[in-house]
Amino acid sequence: MRQILLVAPILIPLAACAITALLWQRPEVQRRIGVAAAALLFLSTLALLAEVVTGGMVVGQMGNWPAPFGITLVVDPLSAAMLVITGLMALAVAVYAMGPGAAERDRAGFQPLFHALVMGVAGAFSTGDLFNLYVWFEVMLIASFGLLVLDRTREQLDGGLRYVMLNLVGTTFFLLAVGLVYGLTGTLNLADLARVAPQVENQGALAAAAVLLLISFGAKAAVFPLFNWLPAAYHTASMPVAAIFAALLTKVGVYAIIRVFTLVFAHDQALFGPIIGVVAMLTMVVGVLGAAAHYDVRRILSFHIISQIGYMLVGVALMTPLALAGAVLYIVHHIVVKANLFLVAGAMQKVGGSFALAKLGGLWATRPLLGLMFLIPALSLAGIPPLSGFWGKLVVIRSGFEAEAWLLASVALAVGLLTLYSMVKIWNEAFWKAAPAEAAAHQPAPGEWGRMQRFATFAPIVALCAVTLTIGLWTEPFAAFSLAAAEALLDREAYIAAVLGTAPVQLAEAVR
């Protein structure tokens, strides 16, 4: 059962991708299968999480080939949490994608591409093998490119080109780094790497390879100065696509940094901690400045993704249990909130007629509930208590203080104020300002949407708001889990033992 749950997050979207591709001419059926598969995925990841919480790490050797020779799938608490959140996001976006515009999207191939993307993400979160991680990066990249240019407008093709070019190069660096690491260690299995890496003779070469890995993961995570692909592309995507991108794509990069730099290169933390810390700071600041400089809802939200990647990296920079717990808490919170904001932005555009703040207005008077559903994720993003973002911020800053990383913690605090500023900017313009004269014409009559479309648009938003509130008000289980996940990340011996067995060296010797 544990083994089935382990592979289910990859197999379910794979099956959904294949089936929906076969039903290319039947968008209606595709859509139903898509939602069912996403729901199934969510349930299976929940079961997997329960398994990890009660029975510890779940490890599976694919094809029964022993580690480190075959490919290992490993789900520890962090992976399990990331998988659950992937399942939740897949479900929320799959439902949202049944809303307005579904027919055109599905005819253009949304469903197979969407599930392929989810498969890539799930694979990346569950693999215990460096090269296999690269494969999932590729799956994600190609699927996300297809999703990005779904509408095939000139704007999308232009953004898609920038997206795919920069990401391809970044992913190529990943492959190059994998080769270098393999050359130095003779292994690709992460647990085995963790075992061998400290013994490598030429630590300088290994560190160089690690920096190249950091660069490729950083490019995927959209850190400064490698984030340009994100603001160039995200605002062109259709809203369900932008939402799933915002939720998952960059976080895979962050996850990869956390995984590899806590597990494999932890012995060189004295080198990487400061590098990642500086990158985190610059990412926070430049990202939030971008958000403060823009007046289009999608662009503001896109730059905030970047800014908050910086917060998540603080955990890896400091590498204390509390700091890593903060990273875990922050990632989980951020994914829910960020995706939700894109979903809300889509709804705002539907009722207000635009994404541009200058053309929006008056929504608080006409759509108070939409306003509330904007406020919950927006204020949470800005770290206003008692919403989920506050706790993430609290832990990140406290861990910074405890590690005496004063500058890092102060920057994180100050960036919070600018985040609040740009969220309030959206609120003031879109909700409070009187509606501009030309905007009135866009507003559809309340009864214009079908019941199904209303449900598809608002049910995911309400559900994600509920998640945000739950994390905010009933924090203890989430905090306890994050701490446990952090402890598991720092307990390398347990990870190695779980993957390689108690006597990995003898095993390798015996084979010879």
């Binding site: 794979l14 991708c17 080939w65 480190p68 490919i71 392929a116 498969m119 694979g123 090269f131 296999n132 999932w136 799956v139 190609i142 699927a143 490119f145 407008t153 000139r154 093709l157 080109l161 920038r162 795919v164 920069l166 391809l168 190069v169 050359g183 130095l184 003779g186 630590q203 300088g204 070469a205 560190a207 390879a209 690690a210 920096v211 190249l212 660069i215 490698l226 340009n228 400045l289 971008g290 400089a293 206003i384 208590p385 506050f390 706790w391 609290l394 832990v395 800053i397 203080f401 405890e402 605090l413 104020l417 500023y421 309030v424 003031n428 300002k433 203890e476 306890a480 390798a508 010879r512």
Partner: protein, 771 residues
Amino acid sequence: MSIAPSLALGLPLGLGLAGAIAATMMKRGVAQAGAAVAALAFLLYLLAAPGVTETTDLRFGFWSVPSLGVVGGLRLDGLSLVFVLLITGIGALVLLYASRYLKGDTRLPRLVTLLLIFMVAMLGAVTADDVVTLFVFWELTSLASFFLVAYDHEKPGARKAALQALLVTGGGGLALLAGLILVAMAAGTTSLSGIIAAREAVLAHPAAIPAMLLVVLGCFTKSAQFPFQFWLPNAMAAPTPVSAYLHSATMVKLGIYLLARLNPVYQHEAFWQELLTTAGLLTTAVGAIYALRESDLKRVLAWTTVTALGSLTMLIGLAPALSATAAVTFLLVHALYKAALFLVAGIVDHETGTRDAAALGGLRRAMPLTALAAVLAALSMAGLPPFVGFVAKEIIYEAKLATGGAAGLFASIGFLVNAAMVAIAGLLSWRLFFGPLRPTPATPHDPPKSMLAGPILLAGLGLLAGAAPSLVGAWLVDGAVAAMLGAPAAVPLKLWHGFTPVLALSAATIALGLLLLLAWGRLMPRLRRASAFDRFDTARLYDRALAGLVAWAEGTTRLVQHGSLRGYMQVLLLVAALGPLAVLVARGGLDLPEAAPLDFRALAFLPIALGAIAAAVARGTLAAVMATGLVGFGTALVFLTFGAPDVALTQFTVEVLLIVILATVLIRLPVRARDVRTGRQRTVDAAVAGALGLSVALVLLAVLAAPFDPRLGEWFGAESVPGGHGRNVVNVILVDFRALDTLGEIAVLAIAAFSVIALLRASGRGARVGS
């Protein structure tokens, strides 16, 4: 006997929240219902009051986050009791007042909801016994204030004021958060009572001074201390009941509350005392001067509130028990008379259609009951006997005179500020209601009872408390003073102190104040015209900082996200070139493998080199893509010559697919047939590419110089036939040992095919491009 702590501490919050939710669904009587909720909460606290003395308190824990060390919990002690009674009592009267003041306004239910949420947040903040809980509620009050200030949110001015208040108090909130985290770390607990008990540890912490400064900064922004005072008068964009409740009686005192709460920790630190007294004194002076420059009743009142907040801060910093007693007494007095005066100003505005003090006068006949409330409150404000304001002012003078060397300075500034307050009190009572009647836009008359109840009751309480100060002392002040000082310290409150220097000072204050009042008509316009006050207004700093920030953000963003793919790529490649190389060199990892003899296989590298050079010199985009294809082709050749034809085939396939997709996208874009880069740009590009090549080569050589651990390959070779039943090791690796990789790669190809098909289809139809 007292009621259960859960009822006293938990129920008011629950009631408030329930009321806030219910208010969104009610059509009629919503403000009255809100007033009832607040009154009920007031009653609950009143019932709890007997259990709260100088040495006893009530505690109620309902929420905690043990994993993060957040202990949670609520606590009602003497200091909290003063605040909760003010919050709920004034809250009830303000809501009752609002029921009439905003009658017929469709936004009334939303206002009531927000006011009740605000009330809950305030109650939570002043009863929290945990710094995190305190902060949660603290920020909620800022947020509620944001929404309430922008009640007329379609007006740009209201939005601007709301944003200003939010950014100033929110920014201070961040400082507060940092300070509280540091203090809690030093004390080893987030519990406020625990922090006070761990006073020594808090003060001994290396970051004790920054932590204190950060907390004080948070308190100063919230309580509008100089230089953050400017947001408070601007917040007068809110409707009058909101101004009366949030921006004079309760929220702006939250900073004062926290200073008082933490006073037991810091009270003997000279820095704390100097900081609070200096900032407080400056704030009183700024408030008094700016109050004399205004004629809008609400702005006048807002500036006098700034003065009062300054006095409170100063009194907390003045250390001895006497000043603590003065602070608590003045806090009560100020809340009573200032809320009353705000409500009176609202009535005048509501009934006459203007709130310009210069245009009003002689309203006594038209609105006698309003005049009565105004006069009672103003007398208390001016500090005349037998009002409680007099008691407070006497103690303040005593406290000031009791301080050491700076007593003269404190007393003389205090004297001038108090005279200004007397003048303003006269303005709000004498000038408004007596003298000749001036014409107003609307015909004035007394408002209905629901609007009069608040001001008359509040002003009357001032009279009552003044008449029996010792009662107030035993009842409310002593408990709060004990909390402020960390130990009971009874200083009796007396109406009559005998013929002392303080009494003479009081008399002189009143005399000067009356002179100022007579001169107000000429003084006010002159002060307003004096541009020096505008030039030194810290609001300008805020405006400039905000504009500068936005300009900085826009400049940085233009610089970083410039829109040129070529530039982005250069950055990515340069980082990838310099990062690994720098680490390799810094770590002394440079190394060269032993040279191997050349053989024919080296020829396979020829197309790679050719392709690379061709790509660099190619003038057409498509040609460059093809040239890079040649590099891939050459790589496949390398695989081929090293005995891996199947790998070569895979490489070839992927390469072709990528080129097809890229070419498709390129064709769909407005393709530039020729390279438009300048010669210099081409040189830069070549240099970047060359740097990357050099870097990768050096790292690769270092890797090749290291001994290779072949155990994976050996194992694959050994297991291929017995385990994988295949004689081609690469095949067995692909389809068996590492089948999952292959599955992923198949998926990549399939997805790439979807994308290509979809793209080509769309181009065939020409659909939507350029739309």
